[in-house]
C-alpha cells in the first residue's frame, strides 16, 4: 500500500462561520417562545424558507435537530423512547428521534426546542414527511398546512403543477398573516430572494471548484458546512456574505493546489446521506485511501444549484414553486438521479461511485441495487454499495464497512495501475470491473 494519506486538519473560515451562523439560528429558536416570536416547522427538501422569512416566521427544521442529535451521539435513547411508544424499528429514525425528543421532555412549551406555531409540510417527494408532520401536529396541536408539491413526472413540471403550487403558496401566505397578524409584503420577499440568489450562486461555484484536482474540499463530508447555510438560512444577508467568503477560501485552496487530504488519490461521487452518528469514523475509512468526494447527491436534497437554476425576484412565487417542483433531488425520480450522478462522474472526472444505502430513508435507498447495476453494467463505473443509517447507530457496523471499503479501493488501485501500464503501452482501456 502506498504512503499514508493524512488529513490536513483544515477547518478554515467556512467551517467556523457555518457553525457560528447555525448556532445563532439555534439560539434564536431557543429564545423564540420567550420573545413571542412565531416559529414554523418546515422540511429541508426543496423548501420555501424564503416565504416563511418574508412572513416573519422563524423557520425550524426538525431534520436538522435530528441530525444534530445524531452527531452528538444522542439519537439512540430518543429512538428507543419512540419505539417504546409504538414506532416500528423499520420506521425512518429521523422521525423517531424527533418524536423521542418530545417524549424525553426536550421539546414543547418551556423546553429547549419550542413547539412550532405553524407546521408547513412541504411534501416534496418524501412521503415520510407527511407522516412526520402529522405526528408533530398531533403532539404540538399546531396548525398543519400540507403543501402538496407534485412529483416531477417529466423533464419539466407542467403549467398545472406550477399553478397548483403557487395557489397553495398564496394560501400559505394568508395563513402566516393570520399567525403573525402582519401583512405580507411582496417586495420584502423579492429582497430576500435577492440574497438567496447570491447564496445559490456561491454554493454552485463552490461545487464547481471541486472539478479541480485536487478538489479544494470534500463535497460529501465537508458539504455539511455549506448545506446548513444554504438550506436553512437561505435568504439572509449573512448567508449571502458567507458564500462570498466560502468561494474566496476555496478559490485560494485551488490556487495553492490544496485539498482536504495530503494527497487526492481517488475522486469519488457519493450517493446517499451520511451516517451522522459515526460521521468522523466513516470519513476516516475513505480518507486513509486518499478518496475525496468531488460530488455528492446528498448535497442537493435542498436544491440543485449547480445546473444554473436561481430564484427569480421578478417571478417570486413562481420561481419558489419551480424550485420545489424541479430543482432538488428529492422531488425527482431515482432514475433521474442516475443521470445526475452520471454527469457528476463524467464532468467532475470521478474514478468511482460510492452508494451509502440508508435503512431509514427509502426515498434515497429503495432500489439502489438497480442503480449499482446501471453504473457497473451499463456504464462500467466502479461502484461500491455499503449500508448503514443516518440516525440510528445500531445499523453502523464498522468492521464490515471497513472490509468492504478496503477491498473496493484495493481493487480500484489495482485497476489504476493496470490503466497506467496500458496507457504506457498505448493499449486500450482495461475492461471495466464492478466491485460489489
Amino acid at each position: 500500500m502506498p504512503a499514508q494519506v493524512t488529513e490536513r486538519q483544515y477547518q478554515g473560515k467556512v467551517h467556523e462561520d457555518s457553525r457560528r451562523l447555525m448556532s445563532a439560528w439555534m439560539g434564536e429558536l431557543g429564545r423564540a417562545e420567550a420573545e413571542g416570536r412565531p416559529t414554523g416547522a418546515i422540511m429541508i427538501s426543496g423548501n420555501c424558507v424564503e416565504l416563511l422569512r418574508a412572513c416573519h416566521i422563524l423557520p425550524m427544521f426538525p431534520e436538522v435537530t435530528a441530525l444534530q442529535n445524531a452527531i452528538r451521539h444522542k439519537s439512540l435513547p430518543l429512538i428507543l423512547k419512540a419505539e417504546q411508544a409504538g414506532y416500528s424499528s423499520d420506521n425512518c429514525a429521523y422521525v423517531k428521534a424527533d418524536i423521542g425528543l418530545f417524549l424525553e421532555g426536550g421539546m414543547g412549551p418551556g423546553k429547549p426546542m419550542p413547539f412550532p406555531n405553524l407546521i408547513v409540510c412541504n411534501y416534496v417527494g418524501c412521503n415520510v414527511y407527511v407522516k412526520w408532520f402529522e405526528h408533530l401536529a398531533d403532539i404540538s396541536g399546531a396548525k398543519l398546512f400540507m403543501l402538496d408539491v407534485p412529483f416531477l413526472r417529466a423533464a419539466e413540471p407542467s403549467p398545472a403543477d406550477i399553478q397548483y403550487v403557487v395557489g397553495q403558496l398564496r394560501e400559505l401566505i394568508a395563513l402566516c398573516e393570520g399567525v403573525t397578524g402582519e401583512k405580507f409584503d411582496i417586495d420584502e420577499l423579492r429582497e430576500i430572494i435577492g440574497y438567496s440568489i447570491r447564496a445559490e450562486e456561491g454554493y454552485s461555484r463552490c461545487k464547481h471548484l471541486c472539478k479541480h484536482k485536487p478538489a479544494p474540499f470534500d463535497s460529501y463530508f465537508d458539504s455539511i458546512n455549506l448545506m446548513g447555510p444554504i438550506n436553512v438560512l437561505r435568504g439572509t444577508k449573512e448567508v449571502a456574505d458567507f458564500f462570498d467568503v466560502a468561494v474566496a477560501e476555496f478559490e485560494g485552496l485551488v490556487a495553492q493546489g490544496l485539498g482536504p487530504l495530503s494527497e487526492e488519490r481517488f475522486r469519488t461521487v457519493v450517493e446517499g446521506p451520511p451516517p451522522y452518528p459515526y460521521y468522523k469514523n466513516f470519513r476516516n475509512l475513505f480518507a486513509k485511501w486518499g478518496a475525496v468526494a468531488v460530488q455528492s447527491t446528498y448535497s442537493t436534497v435542498g436544491g440543485i444549484w449547480e445546473w444554473g437554476f436561481r430564484h427569480d425576484p421578478a417571478r417570486p412565487l413562481e420561481s419558489i414553486a419551480e424550485q420545489m417542483l424541479r430543482e432538488n433531488l428529492t422531488n425527482r425520480s431515482i432514475t433521474t438521479r442516475y443521470q445526475q450522478i452520471r454527469r457528476y462522474v463524467e464532468e467532475w472526472d470521478a474514478d468511482a461511485l460510492v452508494i451509502h444505502s440508508i435503512k431509514s430513508c427509502r426515498l434515497f435507498s429503495a432500489g439502489q441495487g438497480d442503480m449499482r447495476d446501471y453504473f457497473t453494467r451499463e456504464l462500467g463505473v466502479s461502484t461500491l454499495l455499503v449500508e448503514s443509517d443516518l440516525e440510528d447507530p445500531r445499523y453502523y457496523a464498522e468492521a464490515q464497512l471497513k472490509n468492504r471499503i478496503d477491498a473496493f479501493f484495493e481493487a480500484l488501485e489495482h485497476k489504476k495501475v493496470v490503466v497506467r501500464a496500458a496507457g504506457r503501452r498505448g493499449a486500450g482501456a482495461p475492461p471495466a470491473e464492478a466491485s460489489r
Partner: protein, 384 residues
C-alpha cells in the same frame, strides 16, 4: 350459479398468472390492451373508458421466487415491491401493456421508475395524487392529473378517452362499488355467512375481470349468500387495518377466523372500493372523478386527510361495523401502515377499543405463532 361455484371461479381467476389473465381477455378482444394498477387507488375508470382491461397489480404473493429483484431492492424494502418487479423479470406479466403507480410511499415511487428502466417497452405512468385535501385548487388539480394519464394512453396506444365514455365507465364502476359495499354490509350483518377469505377472493377476482362481468357474479353471489345456511358463533368481531397494499397470504386471513374472530371490516383491496358513495354529479367526468378523489375517499394511510385525525376513520369503522377490537395487520417494512399504527393505536386507546398487531409478509407460510397470539387475544376479550 351457487355461491360455491362463483367462489371456485374466483379462486381459479386469482390463482392465474396476471399476464395469462390479460392474454385470455385479449384473445377474445383482438387488438385489446390491458393496463395494471399498483395499489392503492388508481382510476380504473380511465383505463376502462379507453377500451382497455383494468387489472390489479398485487405482487407475486406466495408463488413467485425472487431471482432478480432482491439484487435491486434491499432487505429492508417490503415484499410487494420486490415481487412486482420480479413479475416483470420472469415474464409473468407478459401481455400487460401498461402499469400505473402512484405516490403512496417512497418505495412505490422508486419502483415505478425502476420498473420503467428495466422494461422500457411497456407503458409506465406515475400519478401524483394530491396529499392536500382542503385547498380550493386540489380537486381541479386531481382532474388535470387524470387528463394527463389519458394523454399517456393516447400517446402509447392511440386510444382516446372521451367524456361520454368516461361518464359511462364511472357509472359502471359506481355499480360495481355499490355491489362491493353491499357485500361488506352483508358481512357486517351476517359474518357467519360470508367469511373474509371468501369476500377477499371475490373482490380480488373482480379486479381481474371486466367490471360488467364482475357485477353479474357479485349480484348472483349476494343473492345466493342470503340463502346460505350458517349459525352465528361466539366470536370476536374485529376490524383489520393496515393491509391496504401488500397482500396478506390467504392462510393468515384463515387463521384469523379460525382463531376465533369474525372480521367485520378491513382495508383489503381498499383502492377498488375507494369512494364512500357513488361518484356523483353532472358535467365534466374528469372533474367529477377528481373531486371524488379528494372529497369522497375512504380514510387511508396513503392519503393525508386534513379534515380529521388519523384515528377518526378507524374508530368510525369500528362503531359502524359493531366491532369489538382492531387487529392491525401491516406488511413488514410498510412505512405508511407502521407510522399510522402509532396515531391510530393512541386514538383507539383513548376510545377504549382493544387492539393487537400482527405483521406479515406476502410469502409468510407458518402461522402457528400468530394463531396463538390471536387466540390469546380473543380469549382475553371473550372470557374476561
Amino acid at each position: 350459479m351457487t355461491p360455491e361455484q362463483i367462489l371456485d371461479q374466483c379462486r381459479e381467476l386469482v390463482a392465474r398468472p396476471l399476464g395469462a389473465v390479460a392474454e385470455r381477455w385479449k384473445a377474445a378482444h383482438p387488438g385489446g390492451r390491458a393496463v395494471a394498477a399498483y395499489p392503492v387507488w388508481a382510476p380504473a375508470e380511465l383505463i376502462h373508458a379507453a377500451g382497455m382491461l383494468p387489472l390489479s397489480l398485487l405482487g407475486g404473493g406466495t408463488s413467485v421466487e425472487l431471482t432478480h429483484a432482491d439484487a435491486r431492492f434491499q432487505s429492508f424494502v417490503c415484499s410487494i415491491a420486490k415481487s412486482t418487479l420480479e413479475l416483470g423479470f420472469q415474464d409473468i406479466v407478459k401481455g400487460i401493456d401498461g402499469f400505473v403507480f402512484s405516490n403512496i410511499c417512497d418505495v412505490a415511487r422508486n419502483l415505478s421508475s425502476i420498473y420503467h428502466r428495466n422494461f422500457p417497452d411497456v407503458f409506465v405512468e406515475y400519478l401524483h395524487l394530491p396529499q392536500n385535501s382542503t385547498s380550493p385548487g386540489v380537486a381541479g388539480y386531481a382532474a388535470s392529473e387524470l387528463r394527463r394519464l389519458t394523454q399517456g394512453f393516447e400517446g402509447a396506444f392511440g386510444l382516446k378517452v372521451t367524456e361520454p365514455a368516461l361518464a359511462k365507465s364511472i357509472e359502471t364502476y359506481n355499480a360495481l362499488r355499490a355491489r362491493v359495499r353491499a357485500l361488506y354490509a352483508f358481512r357486517i350483518a351476517e359474518p357467519q355467512r360470508l367469511s373474509t377469505t371468501d369476500l377477499y377472493v371475490t373482490l380480488r377476482a373482480a379486479t381481474l375481470a371486466p367490471p360488467e362481468d364482475a357485477i353479474g357474479w357479485l349480484d348472483d353471489l349476494l343473492a345466493g349468500l342470503r340463502l346460505r345456511d350458517a349459525r352465528p358463533r361466539d366470536r370476536l368481531r374485529v376490524v383489520v387495518e393496515g393491509a391496504f397494499c401488500e397482500q396478506p397470504p390467504l392462510g393468515l386471513l384463515e387463521v384469523l377466523e379460525e382463531a376465533g374472530c369474525y372480521v367485520v371490516e378491513d382495508d383489503l383491496m381498499l383502492g377498488w372500493r375507494w369512494f364512500t358513495a357513488d361518484v356523483a354529479g353532472d358535467g365534466d367526468p374528469f372533474e367529477r372523478l377528481g373531486a371524488a378523489y379528494v372529497n369522497q375517499a375512504v380514510p387511508s394511510s396513503v392519503r393525508h386527510e386534513g379534515r380529521e385525525h388519523r384515528s377518526t376513520g378507524l374508530i368510525e369503522k369500528v362503531r359502524r361495523a359493531n366491532a369489538q377490537a382492531v387487529v392491525f395487520m401491516p406488511a413488514k417494512f410498510c412505512e405508511p401502515a407502521l407510522f399510522d399504527y402509532v396515531l391510530m393505536k393512541q386514538g383507539l386507546e383513548r376510545a377504549g377499543i382493544p387492539h393487537m398487531i400482527v405483521e406479515f409478509e406476502e410469502k409468510m407460510w407458518t402461522f402457528e405463532r400468530t394463531r396463538n397470539e390471536i387466540e390469546t387475544f380473543v380469549e382475553s376479550m371473550l372470557f374476561d
